[in-house]
Symmetry: C3
Subunit: 331 residues, 3 copies
């Protein structure tokens, strides 16, 4: 394991080992596996949980984290090799990467898509170029996928469900007034299908996740002998589900052309008690932040079946597992 | 002691113990009382001294501090329970609080009032709700009161005066072109009256501090057999004072309706040498930042009776005392 | 050595000792020389490398760094003693400095000129006043000079060249669409001349560095029996050079009056392979950030003679040397 940039780059076995390692860190929070190691974390977008949990993950294992926010205070960054930099960009990603590799032991990056052109953004240029130019491990803290969140979700399920085989996960779109990133949905569907769950995705017509991602999820399900479906009915997806994962995202086809209130006709796409009653006494979760009573009702979010805080806490533990694997002591 | 959110929640005895503890930390700056502990500090407003002194307080006792600035880079935060979050807020304070409690051992928050409606802001909704939802200690780094600053002021007086009984503190309004928070004045008056000093407050007509706060101060003074007065004459307040504490604040009745240059007629409310000459060779202090030659003259600020740097330094020591008491080792 | 604010305040011997110390830290990155020490670093301007390398320098030697960005979130700072602070500034530099000295063991500051009036900015008021009011060492992280960058450059040359005597450094202006600070050029020319290299500066007519700085460089060269020249031909400067240091800067005479595209006629001032061919198989470097294919071509920057990453890495090591000298353990 050289980098941690997308969940689909890792086998079921590797994922299970990371989760086992994370469970160990949950039992023993402090250690020395990262003594003398430094993580340099680049935030092109805001962050609360990710910033705190990575900082703590390093610190509690004897290491050190430095968070930078190039987006907020600074010059643009050029990504394309060979570019004549006579525009706004003051610095080339190649140089940023190569210098930070001299200072730190691992790099982490958060860089959301700009919702301009999905074809372009799907290339994940900053992350993939950083990997190309880095001789240190690179960790994805959310670009067009969010493998750390997915790993935390899966660890939480491991703690709650008895095995993944034959268990149904409903990954459902929910309403949000703004178009959001598909990253969490991509990685959540991917890890569930890799790990052998049945996967039922639901979203309004026109809101399908990227076809290549869906095809990969379908392929993993087939390989595992698990069910896979995409529908336009939240009720269908939630029926008999053991786990409901809610997330909103903007329609890929409308990138660059989002309309104000364009989502408003889908306000009924909210996870409420009535819909949860159709599940197999299912658990509920959502990555944070989450708009209450818009994406899911307080009744669902605050119920005994809600895993939102457990999943958020597990970010800390899985990130320790990833860091220990990538740059930990005994390598 | 479960939280540290307002000075009036603490007895004279508790305050004196904190000051004694702080004096110990002043003598021995380094220790291990906070080993393995993490403070998560949320800054909705700018900070220099508070940020540095809390970071150092944790670090020098073996702990770790993480500072977040949700205000500068980020989404709004919803405070009201049950809200339908279809506006600007992306995240509910309940969720922020409950997640940060999974990561850290104590939370600290700075969140100034917005000068819109004192009745509303007096509820201190963010702080009080955070306390409600937190299962870890919460520390007030300045909302509508500023107990850490008050504690530092009182520690400084403890070092300079022989006892508090019969000693007169003048808490006086001074000119500032902008309306400021009443937090420091509230907490300064409160701690002085709890600790048994005579308290003489002066401010222009219409600039009285909140009546409930004044009533509490008066009550503490009466209980301690100490004098209490509010007047519109700085000269009266300063007469024979052993200590002059200067602070500016905006008139509560004009919240939401501040006029540019509305304070300008009170430019003579400045602490100068002439006024200090009326005191009992009194000490002077002011929390920082402070506009020189507007709130007090350089002559006063740089004199041998000025305690501004000592008070600022003591922030570090009292915060160690608070942290050690709340989350320190032997609990 | 009390402060580290300008390279011309240090003798050749002192510089060589710092470089030797830095080479030691390069071999043994971790140590305890700064145990229990805290650096407070004030960034009035953005920073990536400087922020990371100072943080790491402290951390890897057992110390602690706190970075503040007063510029981004905050109140103005008054610099002039005696000022009546009834304008925008909420805080006086004297008070900031004196308080931070109570908290930390050393202060560091980055504060670029504002390109309004070189005569005024040449006084470097913030830095020089901070030194005046500080009883702790002050480090310049780039104001109107950049001694840390210069030291890193010189350490890199020490690693590559066999001695400095008789070696020619070309310090050449290169095109950039915006007017930039002369700080790096000032300090680079100064350190090379102090250390005994021949120095050939080239820039377009009207772009001469400040006369006092040039006179100092000339003086050092003469004292060392080395050559010194300023010309308007990059080709002349690069001829037979052992080292080419590229940098762009805005013309001092046009401070306060910069014209958009005012530099555009000098787009041919770029370091390319053809020009490098005229050197004595010279090395190339540039501080980062650097606009590729505008200041220098990829061919030059990515060649085996390019030292840009080595110089950036050496920032870490020289800063450890400076910090250890100023506040290190055995003092």
């Amino acid at each position: 394991m050289q980098h941690f940039t997308a969940i689909e780059n890792h086998s079921k076995k590797e994922i299970e080992e990371l989760i086992e390692s994370a469970r160990g860190f949950k039992k023993n929070r402090f250690g020395t596996a990262l003594k003398g190691k430094t993580l340099i974390a680049l935030f092109f977008n805001p962050s609360t949980r990710t910033r705190v949990s990575f900082d703590l993950a390093m610190h509690e294992l004897g290491g050190h984290a430095i968070a930078l926010a190039p987006g907020s205070s600074s010059w643009g960054i050029e990504v394309n090799e060979g570019a004549v930099m006579d525009g706004e960009a003051e610095e080339h990603l190649k140089d940023v990467t190569k210098v930070l590799c001299r200072y730190g032991d691992a790099l982490a990056i958060r860089c959301f898509p700009k919702f301009k052109d999905w074809k372009e953004e799907k290339k994940d240029a900053i992350l993939s170029n950083m990997v190309k130019w880095s001789d240190k491990p690179v960790i994805n803290m959310e670009t067009i996928s969010h493998p750390c969140q997915a790993l935390a979700m899966m660890m939480t399920l491991k703690e709650k469900l008895k095995g993944f085989k034959g268990k149904k996960m409903a990954l459902t779109w929910v309403y949000h007034p703004k178009p959001l990133n598909t990253a969490v949905a991509n990685s959540a569907g991917m890890i569930a299908s890799i790990c052998g769950m049945d996967l039922a995705i639901s979203n309004p017509k026109g809101y399908d996740l990227d076809g290549d991602y869906l095809a990969m999820m379908k392929g993993f399900c087939e390989k595992n002998g698990a069910k896979f479906s995409v529908s336009n009915s939240m009720e269908d997806a939630l029926k008999d589900a053991d786990f409901v994962y809610a997330k909103s995202w903007g329609p890929l086809s409308q990138y660059g052309n989002f309309k104000p209130h364009g989502n408003d006709k889908f306000k009924h796409w909210i996870v409420d008690k009535e819909k949860m009653n159709k599940t197999n006494n299912g658990y509920f979760s959502h990555c944070l932040p989450m708009r209450r009573n818009v994406k899911a009702t307080d009744e669902v979010v605050d119920s005994g079946r809600s895993l939102i805080y457990e999943e958020a806490e597990n970010r800390l533990h899985v990130q320790k597992a990833v860091l220990a694997k990538l740059i930990g002591g005994k390598k």
